[in-house]
């Protein structure tokens, strides 16, 4: 449950830059940084005995979000002059740099990572994390919902549909693109901070190329034109492996099929990505009013 809610919030963080038409695969990078911020603060800086106080977690989340936001602006101002494919490449490079650095630098614990991140709750499955995660998701969703209805959101959509035209009517594309990029980064950082506590341990595997693909699958399969899509997509796809595992446990299935259902999570994500791009470019949850096909620009 908690994982589903966290994944949904993460998917929203990729949806934000996509609102302005920017395919950014940087989310896992910011997610990883946010997690490290929380992990380092709570294990090395602050020492609390007993359950970890919730206000401190909220503080870490805000700090991680703000840090990622500032970083995103610093990266975004030069990088977002790039378009389409080039931006996707730059963000892939960013994720790889974060991963290699966190493997190398000492205070992130190298390849082993950081263990024993203090928990605010005592139950084993950590269902109480919903108390933080769910309001965060709702706030983020409300924020995006409102954003789509005010001037800023409309400017973002205008840039997505046609950047040159948007520029021509007085929208500064770079400023709005950086804004959407930074908002996504802040959200990803905050999710990372909470996830670090939830997972109890944090290492460089949290922000890999695979993670980029998974989040991308959430958004694409849910639908990239409305904020409901990424949320639903993330929840369904996070719950899917558990469901498949249950099916695989039924027995009577040939071995290869059972193994595929149990371990083939990523294969299924990949297949879904391909099938959805080929057949449902708008995602499974299409926006209410049909969007006219964008004029092909090269």
């Amino acid at each position: 449950m908690v994982a589903m809610v966290l994944a949904a919030t993460l998917a929203l963080s990729l949806y934000l830059p996509l609102m302005s038409g920017q395919l950014s695969l940087a989310t896992p990078g910011f997610y990883a940084i946010g997690g490290y911020v929380a992990a380092i603060l709570s294990t090395k800086v602050i020492h609390v005995t007993g359950p970890y106080p919730i206000p401190l977690i909220l503080g870490e989340m805000i700090l991680a979000g703000a840090g990622c936001g500032v970083l995103a602006v610093l990266i975004g101002v030069p990088a977002l002059r790039l378009r389409g494919v080039y931006l996707a490449l730059a963000t892939i490079a960013f994720v790889e740099i974060v991963r290699v650095l966190s493997l190398t630098v000492e205070f992130t614990g190298g390849a082993i990572g950081i263990f024993n991140i203090p928990q605010p709750f005592v139950t084993a499955n950590g269902i109480e994390y919903l108390l933080i995660a769910l309001p965060m998701l709702i706030c983020a969703a409300l924020f995006v919902y409102r954003l789509e209805r005010i001037g800023v959101g409309r400017a973002l959509v205008a840039i997505r549909e046609d950047e040159l035209a948007a520029d021509a009517v007085g929208i500064n594309p770079t400023r709005y693109k950086v804004l959407s990029f930074a908002m996504g980064a802040m959200l990803a950082g905050a999710v990372g901070a909470l996830s670090a506590h939830f997972l109890n341990t944090w290492n460089a595997r949290q922000g890999t190329f695979d993670a980029s693909i998974a989040v991308l699958a959430f958004v694409l399969i849910g639908g990239s034109r409305s904020f409901v899509g990424p949320i639903v997509g993330a929840m369904v796809l996070t719950a899917l492996p558990e469901g498949l595992r249950a099916v695989a446990g039924i027995g009577e299935l040939p071995v290869w099929l059972a193994t595929l259902l149990r371990d083939g999570r990523v294969i299924i994500y990949g297949l879904l990505i391909v099938i959805c791009t080929l057949n449902f470019p708008q995602g499974l949850i299409a926006p209410r009013q049909p969007v006219r096909k964008a004029v092909k620009s090269s």
């Binding site: 395919l23 002059r81 080039y86 730059a90 190398t104 040159l164 693909i213 090269s298």
Partner: protein, 316 residues
């Protein structure tokens, strides 16, 4: 500075740089014609190495579905190398038919094609893992029998040994680079490819069979990629199904540095990045993996069209 060591680093850098270059040529061939980045190329590279390993009679571990699988026969290495590359080329063609052609026919956004090829890459890599497990496979050292393990470029009391495999890689890569350049610049096929790159519809009107040539390009790209995969596998080892993805990401740095779609650019970019990696001081060896990405990031910001690319004109 030690001359011998520098020479060794230089050759190391050139040899790995050549592999980066021919790997990147696979991206470039497709990008120069279709203006898309084919992420699946990295998985084809991996497949090439696995095919060759299997064809020379290599045995798989016990983790995958094909546990302990082995061919009843073993091909000599050179034939296996070529057959493996051909198989990789065929897979590349199949990928084009399944994941690219429908999007191309619809005139979809290049970003969608990028996403689709990412999906294909993930599927192929994980199917490999599902079939043969995630172990590291090494080619037996006997495949290059008849050749010494290393050649001494120094003299008897100051040895500068260079591994033979690196010289083989260097030679094969140079042949491929020259071959591809000639194909594109000097033949009718190359001209036809350029015409398609300019405008596929008009090329079709002039009697060029665009679909068939695009398929041929994908085959060529897969063939070269598979060959590069085997060479790397031979030089280091096949480090699990993901090793191609790591190369694929570096390959992106190469093509962007050289300029997207430029064949000489890819070669230059590959060599530069290979050399840059080889000359990272051993005290900073841990950050070696980040070097290509730092270069990629810098190039994108300073000169997005790359070293030899044409500057980008944005059309309405």
């Amino acid at each position: 500075m030690d001359i011998g060591l520098t020479f060794q680093q230089l050759l190391n850098g050139l040899s790995i740089g050549c592999v980066y270059a021919i790997f990147a040529l696979g991206y470039t061939l497709i990008f120069s014609i279709l203006r898309i980045i084919n992420f699946a190329h990295a998985s084809v590279f991996t497949l090439g190495a696995y095919f060759t390993y299997f064809l020379i009679g290599g045995k798989f571990g016990f983790n995958g579905l094909l546990s302990n699988g082995q061919l009843p026969f073993a091909l000599p290495f050179l034939i296996a190398l070529v057959v493996g590359a051909v198989l990789a080329g065929l897979v590349s063609m199949a990928i084009e038919q399944l994941a690219f052609k429908p999007l191309r026919n619809r005139g979809a956004d290049p970003l969608l094609t990028l996403v689709s090829s990412l999906g294909v890459a993930i599927v192929v890599v994980n199917v490999i893992q599902y079939l043969v497990g995630a172990e590291i496979y090494a080619f037996p050292s006997s495949v290059l029998s008849g050749l010494p393990a290393a050649v001494n470029f120094g003299n008897a009391d100051r040895a500068i040994p260079i591994r033979t495999i690196q010289i083989v890689i260097l030679a094969v890569s140079v042949v491929i680079m020259i071959g591809l350049t000639l194909l594109v610049e000097r033949t009718r096929t190359g001209k036809a490819l350029k015409a398609i790159a300019e405008d596929a519809t008009v090329a079709g009107l002039l009697g060029i069979n665009a679909d068939r040539l695009i398929m041929a390009t994908f085959f060529l790209s897969g063939f070269v990629g598979g060959l590069a995969g085997t060479l790397v596998g031979l030089s280091v080892s096949i480090a699990g199904p993901y090793f191609g993805i790591a190369f694929g990401l570096k390959g992106l740095a190469v093509i962007v540095l050289g300029g997207l779609g430029s064949i000489p650019g890819s070669i230059l970019g590959g060599l530069l990045i290979g050399l840059a990696e080889a000359f990272v001081p051993s005290s900073a060896i841990a950050i070696k993996e980040a070097v290509p990405f730092a270069i990629l990031f810098l190039v994108l910001i300073v000169r997005p069209q790359g070293l030899m690319g044409r500057s980008l004109v944005q059309k309405v």
